[in-house]
């Protein structure tokens, strides 16, 4: 069996195992068995548990980013439609690849270095991308805005957090579709950001 195919099988098995048990608890034995190969082969191809996990994170992150990009690109759309398409693609990917999503959103970020950094890279990329979309859309919709760099970063964090939370919730709650989750976030973010751009801020008292 050609090397590339075997390697894909192993990564599939590893993603599944890491998603279910977490990095520490997942055992190389189980991963090998799940992949239908012997343990030494896993080591021959992927060198160590750490590298295997890193490879998983990278592959899944790229797949997720590619899915979102594919949902948005190639069509001439107004900004709000672009945002919508991106969110939909994101929630659809998360729904269709729950293990992938668990590895990226949960496991990768909690295993300390060097995984957290690897996962952060993707998170940051998404945050920047989505924030860009939203900003663009908001600007177009509401004109120039007074909003600091710090605010943008904080908002991106809030947004990505919402998305993660909604994606997980959607995956765990029967009957909730990706479309529904995307719509919730779209409304939440779109309207909220719109007001912010119009400087209609809430303040205590």
């Amino acid at each position: 069996m050609p090397r590339a195919v075997r390697e894909r099988q192993m990564l599939d098995a590893a993603v599944r195992s890491f998603a279910r048990h977490g990095y520490q608890t997942a055992s190389m034995d189980e991963i090998a068995e799940l992949a239908g190969v012997s343990k030494p082969l896993v080591y021959l191809y992927l060198n160590s548990k750490e590298e295997l996990f890193t490879a998983c994170i990278r592959r899944e992150a790229e797949a997720l980013l590619a899915a979102v990009a594919a949902g948005v690109e190639g069509r001439e759309l107004p900004p709000d439609e672009r945002l919508w398409a991106g969110l939909l693609a994101f929630f659809t990917y998360a729904a269709e690849h729950p293990d992938s999503w668990v590895v990226l959103s949960r496991q990768a970020r909690t295993q300390g270095e060097p995984f957290a950094t690897e996962a952060s890279r993707m998170r940051e990329e998404i945050a920047v991308y989505v924030a860009g979309l939203i900003g663009e859309a908001a600007r177009e919709a509401h004109g120039a805005a007074t909003i600091t760099e710090r605010d943008v970063t904080a908002l991106a964090q809030a947004l990505v957090g919402s998305a993660e939370s909604l994606a997980t919730w959607a995956n765990e709650t029967p009957g909730v579709t990706a479309k529904e989750a995307a719509a919730t976030l779209m409304n939440f973010a779109w309207a909220g950001l719109g007001n912010l751009m119009k400087s209609e801020r809430w303040s205590p008292r």
Copy 2:
């Protein structure tokens, strides 16, 4: 030394250790040493690593809920002020008890069963509370329910996710205060919620 005091020491040590190393990597040896007792005593009081971790989650979850409740209760406030008070209390607690927050938000949720369930309980309790606030605000603003139960739940999930993400970001970013994090979310969320309740929804096409 009375049992209650010893037990508190152990839980303190355990929370710290679990926060720093994660459930799997934290060792009973280190926890015992950190608590200043012998390992058998930890087992005598808390039976097993699993029960110890569960006890940590429970104690910290209760503390967090209590902190939020204390911030909100006892004063007659309009829904938005109640939400603000809750958010402020939440971010303040997370900032003042970073280990506790790490255990609850990161570690507990990534270690599979039975811990995830334990952590979800608290999260759900918060989500329900927030959903209540949203519903109340919606009713107050527009009388009849212009928003479905399902929508409220979804929004609550989004809000809680934002809050979690922001709390972690605030803890990890020097110079970000609890108040600032709360304000960011409040602006983001309340404005978005406001629009939603006015039925100004975004929809594709």
Copy 3:
């Protein structure tokens, strides 16, 4: 069982195992079993295979040096008798502790760093000591001698090699006593060195 006793048992077992199988082939499993304890205990007391082996080398080296010293010291003897006593003690120790001797002479020196250094220390100590004895004896017997520092070092190497070879041969050949081996070396070294001191050198042609 007190720690000191246990530790001695483990070292005994390890010396035996290392002597029989060599450093690499000896397994911690076997050593633990031979010592009548569980493997974790071996690690608790001696940390690693490497440290265990080092501890063996050190203990056996000290025992050998002590045995030789005990054979020589405490009595007022002429130099040749001192040499004789030392050689006898050395061969006796090697005969009575064959595993110890194998570990010191064979295993320790062939496992690369850091063991070789550890073993060399002892070898050097013995070489210097024995060379000193011989030199002293020879000087007394034959007067001042013309022999360079380099020659002394080379001779010490030759001497120690002879002793090692004879000790191993004596251990492996039934019926050869320590006394006989010591006598062979004494004659070989004593006479040979005597002639050297008298500058009666052999040269080709």
Copy 4:
């Protein structure tokens, strides 16, 4: 490429690897790579690591014996000159083939059966040859045997041990030539032997 050539390449690589890392630590992977062939080919030609090591020992032992024999044979010489020629040839070979010498003197003898036996065979052959020389010299010097067979054997062991020790020392000490090592041993040994043969023995008391 003809089989004989390939096989030589493999043995060369193996000797080098065994000398550097020892039998256990040397890996078939490295040996195959060093020989510039694939691992299965090594197995096709040499069957197993054990047989490969044995083949190395045998080839190197024969080479060493041949070198010594070539140094001595073909000329009619008195025993002392024969010994000198043999020693010179021996030290020269060891200096020029350090890996070979390490394998024979260190590695082969420390890896337990069946290698030790294999190495002993060569050592014994040398010892017997040396013993023959000694015996011959004794007879020539004094006619009848003033020295027992057992004594001769013991002396041969001592001499061989000295030679081994000196050869290793010479290889590891920069600036020491084969001739110098041979001279040291010759002086040491021959003088000592001379005295022995004149029955000038040292004895205790």
